[in-house]
Symmetry: C2
Amino acid sequence: MPSTRPTRDRATIHDVAAHAGVSKSLVSLVLRDQPHVSTARRTAVWRAVDELGYRPNAVARSLASRHSRVVGVLVLDLHNPVFVEILDGLSGGPANPDVTMLLVSAGGDPAREHELLLSLLDLQADGVALVGHRLPPATIDKVADERPLVVVTRRDIRRPGVDTVCNDDAAGARLAVDHLVGLGHRRIWHLSGGGSAVARDRRRGYEAAMAAHGLADVAHVVDAGFTDEAGFEAAAALISGRQPPTAVFVANDFSALGAMAGLEQAGMRVPGDISVVGYDGMALGAMRRIDLTTVAQPLPQMGRIAAELLSSRIQQPGRRARNVVLQPQLAARSSSAGPPGSATLVGPPGSADAPGPDGRG
Amino acid sequence: MPSTRPTRDRATIHDVAAHAGVSKSLVSLVLRDQPHVSTARRTAVWRAVDELGYRPNAVARSLASRHSRVVGVLVLDLHNPVFVEILDGLSGGPANPDVTMLLVSAGGDPAREHELLLSLLDLQADGVALVGHRLPPATIDKVADERPLVVVTRRDIRRPGVDTVCNDDAAGARLAVDHLVGLGHRRIWHLSGGGSAVARDRRRGYEAAMAAHGLADVAHVVDAGFTDEAGFEAAAALISGRQPPTAVFVANDFSALGAMAGLEQAGMRVPGDISVVGYDGMALGAMRRIDLTTVAQPLPQMGRIAAELLSSRIQQPGRRARNVVLQPQLAARSSSAGPPGSATLVGPPGSADAPGPDGRG
DNA sequence: CGGGTGTTATGGAACGCTCCAACAGCCGTG
DNA sequence: CACGGCTGTTGGAGCGTTCCATAACACCCG
């Protein structure tokens, strides 16, 4: 609690009213651009506003009007560029220009995540977007019961009041496996993303795809996680066995980055000794130095759709939930090639480099 | 504006009071953990709170108490990992556990930056932190006049009411040039960061260091910017001339990443044909695949100090401004080596890999 | 026993806005 | 000319809290 009062006090609507010689109600009408105000008064009020440097107190406005023109965004991990690219779409769009996006990030701590979500509600945010998260469905329900809510990324949430945007993880995993099989690989392993819903979907997609190719017996999953460190550490498990894989499908790009680092640290060459395919399509992966083959999601588009869903639900809280599922796309780059000893050491001609839609290069 | 009222109404302090059979004032006392309340009533109130699932309305609380327990953070660009690492320090610390950090990001648009800053004030944030920004000093002054303000990154801001945290850019630039000269380079160019204050300091530091080594005549500055794209595009200018440099000191890591990509795209090898040194010490640069020599700032520490300065100024708004300047440190990695044709193709033994303090590896 | 001192509890006035009911004018119309 | 229907303006009652002044009560002391 401040021991002293903050430096200078702002002008209030009363000051403006007095200065313009009108009632505070009239000032309020002008500020909110309401009709039935004479031009003379209108200009007088605006002049007073300018002269006093008046800015409305958003807190008081929010309390009185019962909406805040603020939407809260809870984001799992700002270190992962994927989430940042989703945020681009969320806030960049021309969707409501006069609502402010407030970001909070828990930095991976689930308890803090829950707490921050509640404080977003306490602050009377008009709506909340969850960008990558691990909250239990019960929490999701409770929040959605009270405020418009959109969930980006998680496909398992299907509830009456909750809109969702995500990609088809199973189909994406299938793309990755198809790509590697097409290059001639058979011993294709999976570095999983852990226990989250998304990780589970990708893992199951991998298993299904392997089975579809008659490779169920060589399928193998190594537990990792969605961070670069997790990928780095899991790399060791890829090369320690007697029958190491010739390719690995990693649960996400960020962790694939770590895995590549770990593999190269251990003396393996990518893709010479082992191919790596990621998932997400983060812009960073397209960098020459990295050039990671990946299953690209249309990240900014997902953000944009989320923003639209949210503002539409703020307009009409009662409407039926929409669940948007987008199709991912394979972006073949140089981290994947034929298995060691095979003829094809570069990607097949058919698989052009397809960056994610709206990708930043 | 919502056409319908949000789904369910929250319990208010009145409801709690009625449910517990006490006055709302008493409930307020209990919630704020004030003394002079009997244990019996205290437990009764807490029970009512639990049973009704009551949570105080932060907006009403803020209006009445004249402080919000919220601090706003304006961050220049979430794509640049440097800022995210500063944020880690800002919010991760154990500094006031019950204040919420609200992030806003302008995504590089200066007009939006200004607007978002104002809305942070409108929302009655108790304090504001600026993490990388390009606001004119006049704006800084106006904000600081009204609310506690701390500026991270910019050194040119020295004003009575404004605390700052930054590193010594001139010294850092000197470290970079010394390192390259030590490796045997003479034709060392600089990819500048544009017109910002930080960019200017680094550029001048470069020029001074070159002059100190008697290399003023071969010093050359190419205008780029602080983004990866800017670095990528500027790479062309490095190799188009008749006397291309053997080393380049890039204004920041993010742009150095782009420059490396551009150079390699044009067929140059790093460090074989040209050495690259960045500035910032972002964790990503330590990745094997990238392994960028850089001038490392203690990023999370800077964030932590900023948080402390801010909360201290919220306690006592009148106190004298503090300007903390931290010393950067060279992290020599494999993007720099001796010039083409020289004997030393690896870094000199003295320059051990020194990651930024608190670095994530 | 009167009058401090201290603890516990309460009503009500803010906080800075929005929004509704009310009203004064003014017009046209039956 | 009474009347309804517009336009333009205002006071005041909220919104859900905090916080101050005050009161009721117990207790101790001279």
